[in-house]
């Protein structure tokens, strides 16, 4: 970008002031672009979330606005802008107004140093991952401000819970990131991606068994930091009306909402670049990739696919798992995740000392861990397939009409779900 600015200023023969202005304009343009991309992703994730929720609960999900309801997020956004912006009389006005911006700032600024592609990064900071961990902590400030300024007991409880949770879960997340930083020898996001390869056994997640554990540690901690189910205690609607955003209406609530959903993409993107090889194309070196536009696009597509697969997993977790209790949440963090993260750090350090990079032992370790991961994945897929075979894919909703003699039959309802599916095929003898 700097070279482009220099080229343009030379071409238009701008003075030093004009050059500064041009640079500022270019920075603003890039910032606006990053913001728009992050907003769009956040909006699309709300749609993905509602569609996946529908599928999980044997429903359909939004399907009236656009194809498959795809434009639902635009309708919701337009409505939220048009809603009245209520500021309670007893609330602390300036702080109440400011809180959503702090939340959005924390998440959207982080998008600046996410490597979407080899050249698609707004700012490749040499302390990239540290910056990401630090700037996302700004969300805590916003959440606490919202909870305090609302002057509402539910908001305050939600804000305090959220702050405790985010601060606690930053420890295992940071330690898991440290495992990767040890391997890459750099804090820059691009250097970390470059230290990996395109093939799965060159990814950091499969470098050794400790890294595999560190990946799951990071993912769990990041989901908890994003206040997502099963860790969505700050917004538990059965206890705290809506947590820290109880008093927020209209687009101020939309700010929190978009921040939360952009955070899902952010955590998936960080996990992809730290552990899953980022934009690396299998069989192509970074130098080769830099030379070809098509390989660049392919790298971006690969990053996109991996990140969205992780987004899907986060959404899937939300609609599958029940919410934890507060003490369980803290116990999980301090009694299990943090000791495990320290063990991973120690193990990786020892392996780094013992195993020469590029040796046969190193390759064997990588291939073995990849096999372990593949085995785990296959086992999981097999169990899922088994349950679908046994219980059916969707619950039959016509259960009341399918009695033995065409009448309501309570015995019919108490059967296991697989029976409905067989009955639908007309194979059930009764």
């Amino acid at each position: 970008m700097e070279s482009l600015v220099q080229h343009l200023s030379a071409r238009w023969s701008l003075g030093p002031w004009g050059q500064e202005l041009l640079a500022a304009a270019a920075i603003l343009l890039v910032a606006a672009l990053v913001f728009v991309v992050a907003l769009t992703y956040a909006g699309i994730i709300t749609w993905v979330e509602r569609r996946v929720a529908g599928r999980t609960q044997s429903r359909v999900g939004p399907n009236r606005v656009g194809p498959f309801g795809f434009l639902q997020w635009l309708a919701d956004g337009a409505k939220m802008i048009l809603k009245e912006d209520v500021i309670p009389a007893q609330a602390d006005g300036p702080m109440f107004r400011l809180a959503p911006y702090a939340c959005m700032l924390g998440v959207f600024t982080a998008f600046v140093s996410v490597p979407f592609g080899q050249l698609l990064i707004a700012a490749d900071l040499n302390v990239g991952i540290l910056f990401l961990l630090a700037i996302t902590s700004l969300v805590v400030v916003g959440v606490l401000m919202a909870g305090w300024a609302s002057n509402n007991k539910w908001s305050l409880l939600g804000g305090v819970r959220s702050a405790a949770q985010i601060v606690s879960y930053e420890l295992p997340a940071g330690l898991a990131v440290l495992v990767v930083v040890l391997g890459a020898g750099s804090l820059s996001m691009q250097d970390i991606v470059r230290a990996q390869g395109g093939a799965p056994w060159n990814w950091f997640v499969f470098r050794d068994p400790f890294c595999l554990v560190a990946f799951f540690l990071y993912f769990t901690a990041a989901v908890a930091e994003g206040n997502r189910t099963p860790f969505d205690l700050p917004e538990a609607e059965s206890e705290l009306v809506a947590g820290y955003n109880t008093e927020y209406s209209g687009i101020r609530f939309g700010g929190f909402f978009l921040g939360e959903f952009a955070n899902i993409y952010l955590l998936s993107a960080i996990a992809t670049s730290l552990f899953l090889g980022g934009w690396q194309v299998p069989g192509v070196s970074p130098a080769e990739q830099a030379g070809s536009v098509w390989l660049q696009l392919l790298g971006f597509a690969i990053f996109f696919a991996k990140a969205w697969a992780l987004v899907f997993v986060v959404v899937w977790l939300r609609w599958t798992l029940p919410r934890l209790r507060v003490d369980q949440l803290m116990g999980l963090c301090y009694r299990y995740l943090i000791p495990l993260a320290f063990a991973c750090l120690l193990g990786t350090s020892l392996l780094l000392l013992a195993v020469v990079p590029g040796s046969a032992l190193d390759l064997g370790l990588r291939l073995g861990t990849t096999g372990l991961g593949a085995l785990g994945g296959a086992l999981f897929a097999w169990r899922v397939a088994h349950h679908i075979r046994r219980a059916g894919d969707r619950v039959s909703l016509d259960v009341l009409q399918r009695g033995a003699r065409g009448a309501f039959d309570p015995a019919w309802q108490t059967r296991r779900y697989g029976a409905f599916r067989k009955a639908a095929r007309g194979q059930e003898e009764r």
């Binding site: 939004p62 337009a78 009245e84 955003n245 109880t246 927020y248």
Partner: protein, 185 residues
């Protein structure tokens, strides 16, 4: 969209002519597909309200999402019998909702007091405390009926001259339980 087509593009406002017809239509199209309802029920109709969000009726198809807090809700569904004790709470919930807000009276009790009309403690209709947009008959209405009510509300929202509406002009019914007269709890 058809609602926007019915109106002239240039309309005279209090300060002169301005063109808002098509924009109104576009905004209303967004608004009508994003009516979030409040998770609130006073009696047995609330069971049917929960069912409306379930797999069989699936209100989410139309963009009707539940919100647990009145600040973020657009629609207040009066689901069930309203007692005098509850009336002031419902009034307060309605006041806590952000404009533009709508109310659906679901079932006989919320319409007229229904089965308990003769009771000393039951409000004879939700429209005595909050302005109601759609009435749904039934005791209780089935989820399909509630869905139809919500779709009728969509039609109403679609036809609203949103940008030209003067907010707060809708008079609220007289407070049946004025402050200072509240009974001790």
């Amino acid at each position: 969209m058809s609602a926007a087509g019915d109106r002239p593009i240039i309309e005279a406002g209090p300060e002169g002519g301005f063109a808002l017809g098509p924009l109104d239509g576009l905004l209303n199209l967004a608004r009508k597909h994003s009516l979030w309802y409040l998770l609130f029920g006073t009696a047995c109709c609330a069971i049917e309200l929960m069912q409306t969000g379930g797999p069989r009726a699936d209100a989410d198809r139309f963009g009707f999402l539940f919100r647990p807090t009145p600040r973020q809700a657009d629609v207040l569904i009066l689901a069930g019998t309203i007692t005098y004790r509850m009336a002031s709470r419902i009034r307060r919930l309605h006041e806590q909702m952000a404009e533009p807000r709508y109310v659906i009276a679901m079932g006989s009790c919320a319409n007229t007091g229904g089965l308990f009309q003769g009771s000393y403690s039951v409000v004879k209709g939700g429209d005595l405390i909050v302005p109601v947009d759609v009435y749904i008959p039934g005791c209780p209405p089935r989820p399909e009926a509630l869905l139809e009510g919500l779709m009728l509300l969509q039609q109403k929202v679609e036809r609203e001259p949103y940008l030209r509406k003067i907010r707060g002009e809708l008079p609220l019914p007289a407070d049946p339980w004025p402050a200072g007269k509240e009974c001790k709890e």
